[in-house]
């Protein structure tokens, strides 16, 4: 399709979507590397994209289920037949006036994805195919300073000044779910004199490079930050100028009163970080020219909104908003809307549908724009989720409570009909989710399709858009999911789909930049002036109603979350005697943030170049008490599940935790099937125990309490 040589495009081995160059030779992709115009790094997953491209497991034809859901038996059908089935199923629900009972699980590539356009026309909802990994942070940033509501925006580490503090709290930044340039940027900041401090129950590759590893108790992060906030305020170490000028009047005093008794000693008892260490870290951060914080697993270990809130207060009172090395506050790239714009679904909190159905009261303060994946099973059971579309996600394996999800999608009503009327899966290869799908459509890889990508976290490199472009032909009849839903959109909502194809759709969006796909291609696939802008609030204030930073949230007074609570996730405080360990689900670079295509990639599962197995990791001191030796097979039992798996003893983990690397336990795929064990077997479906969930921040836990026996 293109001439031999290196071509700019965008990786999609994971959600970071790094700018890459791909080498094409005789119509085949042969090599990948980072694009020097955009930082110049790609990770091991990106390199292994070549193996994905030519994997035997690639789907090449539409498949229709024969037999029952879960059996995984299919027959090949034509695209015409597939389109007719999709149209009929979607029309049926829409014509009943129940478009809001459709959910599409896909990674939205910001607002540039045509699937989002379709969803808005239909009136359905989106989840990102993730358990809302950082929505607690996003919600808190919107509430505190009016941040951009899209995923995480880590600090731009390359702007970190000498003596700055890089604080990774449950964030495996070297695991490349951020851009692949991040490890290099952190290392270079350290060369300049910045300090790297890693707060994590597990000694990650980041911790191995850190000046200080703080092995915190899981979900103790809020307490740690509140203890620091107490010390900083009590000792007048806060940024008085910023607080006086930019924090809403009265809010600082409310925070001060709130943390009055949250001394380092009191918080130490909760988070298990020594009080002296809390004080030392607080002073280091207060005295540093800049502090950047990034967190991820921390918020997934429970009480996400409390932690996001505490973290936001900490950044505000130490003057680390929109400064070099601190928390960036992005602006949106001026893309053009595709007119006419469909209205979108009704606001979530106005509808009595799946998330809020039987639990409507519990969710009434939930304000985020996407649905949590974990509620799907409950929604199917209560009849408020009727059609589920899944693209490049694998909820049957990779979500907590996956067993409950599998059960729910197979449930039938009194007439013998599936309660979930239609389950569509588009992917590059078969996955566990595909086994339950009524239709499986062969998708295209990132080497085969067009996409206009605009990710706020690329803000680290300045405003920008990138073009993913087809370099080689897709096998068989593989078609990108965007083209599938443009076709369905044209059939069902022609008024909103007046563009020819994906390229014309992107051409319209690019008009805002005076560009087109062709022009962008000629520019090397990248538009970015490289500007970030620092302390932009000085020109127009913050994005909150008052234009100042809101540390106190009066709208959450009725649920007692107007200020962060210094509590562990309730799930970890319960049944401690019976389940003495906390199982932590952790990630490594080889399959971090990916889909079935990476867990089924021979290079990423190879012992020399990837991660081949996932034994449970356990501290030797804890193992000795249980009489467990290195390599022994143990039983790990949670309140809802059980795993029998080998254990590896390592000093890399707290003695009260056991770690299981996520992304294993697949039952489908030539490479992946039968390798390793699935952490989600142990984690209950979050929707089945709402009393332990953060119903405002929207996180589901990726860990739970367990018992270990030989």
């Amino acid at each position: 399709m293109v001439q031999d040589g290196w071509h700019p495009t965008v990786c999609y081995q994971c959600k970071a979507e790094c700018a890459i160059l791909a080498k094409v030779q005789d119509g085949r992709v042969t090599e990948v590397k980072g694009n020097p115009k955009y930082g110049g790094k790609a990770c091991v997953k990106g390199m292994a994209g070549v193996t994905l491209q030519y994997a035997k497991d690639r789907l090449t034809k539409p498949l229709k289920r024969v037999g029952e859901r879960g059996e995984g038996r299919f027959e090949e059908i034509s695209w015409n037949e597939a389109f007719d089935i999709i149209e009929e199923k979607l029309r049926s629900l829409y014509d009943r006036g129940e478009g809001h009972k459709l959910t599409y699980s896909f990674f939205p590539h910001s607002l540039t994805d045509p699937k989002w356009h379709f969803l808005n026309a239909y009136g359905g909802y989106i989840n990102t195919g993730l358990p809302h990994c950082d929505s607690g942070k996003i919600v808190s940033e919107i509430k505190c300073w009016g941040g951009i509501p899209n995923h995480h925006i880590p600090p731009a580490w390359f702007t970190m000044p000498k003596d700055g503090i890089i604080l990774l709290v449950g964030r495996h930044a070297f695991g490349c779910l951020d851009d692949a340039c991040v490890p290099r940027d952190i290392m270079e900041a350290m060369d300049r004199g910045a300090k790297l401090i890693v707060v994590d129950p597990i000694f990650s590759p980041d911790a191995a490079k850190a000046d200080w590893w703080i092995p915190i108790r899981p979900s103790g992060d809020t307490a740690l930050f509140l203890g620091m906030i107490h010390h900083i305020i009590e000792n007048d170490l806060y940024d008085k100028k910023f607080v006086e000028e930019w924090v809403r009047e009265g809010d600082f005093d409310k925070v001060k009163a709130h943390v009055k008794d949250m001394t380092p000693e009191a918080m130490s008892a909760i988070c298990d970080v020594p009080a002296d260490d809390i004080r030392r870290l607080a002073v280091m951060c207060a005295e540093a020219p800049a502090v950047g914080v990034d967190g991820f697993k921390s918020i997934m270990l429970g009480q996400a909104l409390d932690f996001g809130h505490a973290w936001s207060i900490f950044l505000a009172i130490t003057g680390n908003l929109d400064n070099p090395g601190g928390q960036p506050i992005p602006e949106l790239t001026p893309l053009s809307p595709v007119e006419p714009q469909p209205p979108g679904p009704p606001p979530l909190n106005e509808m009595g549908f799946h998330r809020t159905g039987p639990n409507r009261d519990a969710f009434r303060n939930y304000s985020f724009i996407m649905e949590p994946t974990w509620y799907e099973a409950q929604a199917i059971k209560d009849g408020s989720l009727k059609i589920l579309l899944v693209t490049e996600a694998n909820p049957a394996l990779t979500e907590m409570g996956s067993k409950e999800w599998q059960k729910a999608v197979c449930m039938k009503d009194a007439n013998g009909e599936y309660m979930l009327e239609f389950l569509l899966n588009t992917d590059i290869m078969l996955s566990e989710t595909a086994k339950y799908a009524d239709l499986v459509l062969p998708d295209q890889t990132h080497f085969e399709r067009y996409e206009l990508l605009y990710m706020p976290w690329w803000y680290n490199f300045g405003h920008g858009v990138l073009l993913r472009q087809p370099l080689v032909k897709a096998p068989g009849e593989a078609m990108h999911s965007n083209l599938v839903f443009i076709e369905i959109g044209k059939r069902m909502f022609p008024e909103y789909f007046q563009f020819k194809d994906d390229v014309e759709y992107y051409d319209i969006q690019l008009k805002g930049l005076g560009l087109s796909v062709e022009k962008l291609k000629a520019m090397g696939g990248k538009w970015s002036p490289g500007t970030m802008g620092f302390r932009k609030y000085r020109d127009g204030g913050f994005g909150t109603p008052s234009g100042t930073v809101h540390l106190y949230w009066e709208d959450l007074e009725e649920v007692g979350q107007q200020l962060p609570r210094a509590i562990l996730a309730p799930e970890y405080d319960a049944d401690v005697e019976e389940y003495p360990f906390i199982m932590i689900s952790y990630r490594r670079i080889h399959i971090n943030g990916t889909g079935p295509w990476s867990s089924n990639n021979a290079q990423l599962r190879d012992p020399a170049s990837g991660q081949s197995t996932n034994p449970a990791i356990l501290n030797p001191a804890a193992a000795a008490k249980l009489g467990i030796g290195d390599g022994d097979t143990v039983t790990i039992k949670s309140r809802t599940g059980e795993l029998r798996m080998p254990v590896r003893l390592t000093e890399h983990i707290r003695p009260d935790c056991v770690g299981i690397m996520h992304g294993f336990g697949a039952t489908v795929g030539r490479v992946a099937a039968g390798a390793g064990h699935c952490d989600n077997e142990l984690i209950p479906d979050a929707g089945s125990h709402l009393e332990w969930q953060d119903l405002i921040g929207g996180e589901a836990h990726v860990s739970t309490r367990v018992r270990i026996t030989r």
């Binding site: 000694f203 290079q603 000093e651």
Partner: protein
């Protein structure tokens, strides 16, 4: 002295294995359609060592390619004279046309870095991307390294760079053409 080599900064290697996959892709040693884990040859591998006990733990990673030895045992072991130390670059290369597949080089190599292609009955290994370096480029592993932990150049210059940076060379890992920079202590703030 014409010896080219690599310098591995153990302060920066994060053990990500990006170099392994990029190297395999460049040298075309992966059968992407059929490969299965554990069966794919590799010219470079990653090793690691953990020291200390919780919570005062440290871990270091490093990569091990062919060391392009001064008096390479593989050269001596090869009866068919298929392995040559290139006089211009010091790169130890295997001439596939001459290789008789005796595997003597594999047994002789103290670094365990030579691979065997059973289908072609040939030994093969890292040639420091000879095709690239003679064209003025750097080896693939050095180019793609996520943290710039791998650098390339004349070994004498690499050692001089280490000296200039005040870094100590780990001669136990290699006294050959790969220069390993000892890691400086980490986690130093813990337990202060």
């Amino acid at each position: 002295m014409h010896q080219l080599g690599l310098m591995i900064d153990m302060n920066k290697c994060i053990g990500c294995k990006t170099c392994v996959v990029a190297c395999r892709n460049h040298h075309g040693i992966v059968d992407h359609e059929n490969c299965m884990p554990g069966e794919i040859p590799f010219y470079i591998r990653v090793e690691s060592l953990t020291e200390g006990t919780y919570p005062l733990v440290s871990e270091h990673c490093w990569v091990v390619p062919c060391q392009h030895c001064k008096n390479a045992q593989c050269v001596k072991a090869c009866a068919s004279e298929a392995i040559v130390k290139d006089p211009q670059t010091g790169i130890v290369r295997i001439d596939a046309d001459k290789c008789a597949g005796s595997k003597a080089c594999i047994e002789a190599c103290p670094y365990n870095v030579i691979q065997f292609d059973a289908v072609r009955n040939k030994a093969h290994k890292c040639d420091l991307c000879h095709d690239r370096v003679v064209a003025g480029e750097i080896p693939v592993c050095a180019e793609v390294c996520m943290t710039d932990a791998i650098s390339f150049g004349e070994v004498e210059m690499l050692r001089q760079t280490a000296l200039d940076q005040g870094r100590e060379i780990d001669r136990k890992k290699s006294a050959m053409s790969i220069v390993y920079l000892k890691p400086t202590p980490k986690n130093t703030l813990a337990g202060v």
